[in-house]
């Protein structure tokens, strides 16, 4: 993992494209959601689905990929970006999912945008937030 909370209220992570990155990304962004008064449930689900999609669909077998997770508060919203350096969204016949991921993202996010090419895929999501957060640095210890 590289990064974490950068500055006071931002998440910036670079994670390997593997399943264990899903909870890591979700927990980091959900902590920020709590700080800025965004729906933790919605943010958790959106991030989990977007990172899970990247792990499952962006990389061919044996490919070592990276997923960047950024989240930053703006006035009234929390912006979340999930960007991979894979080969674009492709069906994964081994996937255990049933195609619920993207429909769930569109339901929980206020706005969502997908961009996919052979250079990778990016998912940009925004969530309503009650505040832009406190100026204190979030406590990274002892939270899951």
């Amino acid at each position: 993992m590289a990064g974490g909370f950068s500055g006071h209220l931002e998440v910036d992570l670079e994670l390997p494209a593997r399943p264990s990155s899903v909870p890591e990304a979700r927990r980091a962004v959900t902590r920020l959601a709590r700080e800025v008064g965004a729906s933790e449930q919605n943010v958790a689900l959106g991030v989990s689905e977007a990172v899970g999609n990247a792990v499952l669909h962006a990389f061919k077998d044996e490919e070592q990929g990276t997923i960047r997770v950024r989240a930053t508060p703006k006035p009234g919203i929390l912006m979340v970006f999930i960007v991979d350096d894979g080969s674009g969204m492709a069906p994964n016949l081994e996937s255990r999912g049933l195609g619920f991921g993207i429909p769930l993202i569109t339901q929980v996010a206020r706005d969502v945008r997908f961009d996919s090419s052979d250079q990778g895929t990016s998912v940009s999501m925004s969530f309503d937030a009650a505040r832009t957060g406190s100026s204190r640095k979030p406590d990274l210890e002892g939270q899951s």
Binding site: V22, L45, S48, G97, G101, L104, V108
Partner: protein, 121 residues
């Protein structure tokens, strides 16, 4: 990201019911663990299977897929216990699959559904 699962067998009016309690978040990292528990060969022999998800604080579509496959396999012999307004209840609602799985709020209600004494039996 290990899940905690405990399995008990309860004798109900209709026969032996497997009660599986799951605790922890369920996502792509560990959905296979849940899959292994609810697809254990001995479950197929039970009159019913109750999957208690009240201690699951988060589930995404990886877990949902596992639940739906179990529902497809076990049919009406599977009942989920889900706390009202919980993240799992929210996931079922957002995914519009509530009519594809039997859901109860309590263990007694779940056993009642399997015994044929529940409100929806």
């Amino acid at each position: 990201v290990a899940l905690e699962c405990s399995v008990d067998v309860r004798e109900a009016r209709s026969g032996a019911i497997e009660l599986v309690k799951v605790a922890g978040e369920v996502d792509l990292a560990n959905a296979e663990e849940l899959n292994a528990v609810i697809h254990a060969p001995n479950l197929a022999e039970r009159v019913g299977v109750v999957l208690d998800l009240r201690l699951v604080p988060f589930m995404d579509s990886s877990g949902l897929g596992t639940l739906l496959r179990a529902a497809q396999r076990l049919g009406s012999r599977l009942v989920l216990i889900v706390a009202p307004a919980s993240p799992v209840a929210n996931l079922l609602e957002l995914s519009r699959v509530e009519n594809m799985v039997n859901v109860a709020a309590t263990e007694e209600q779940a056993v009642g559904l399997l015994d044929g004494t529940g409100p929806d039996a």
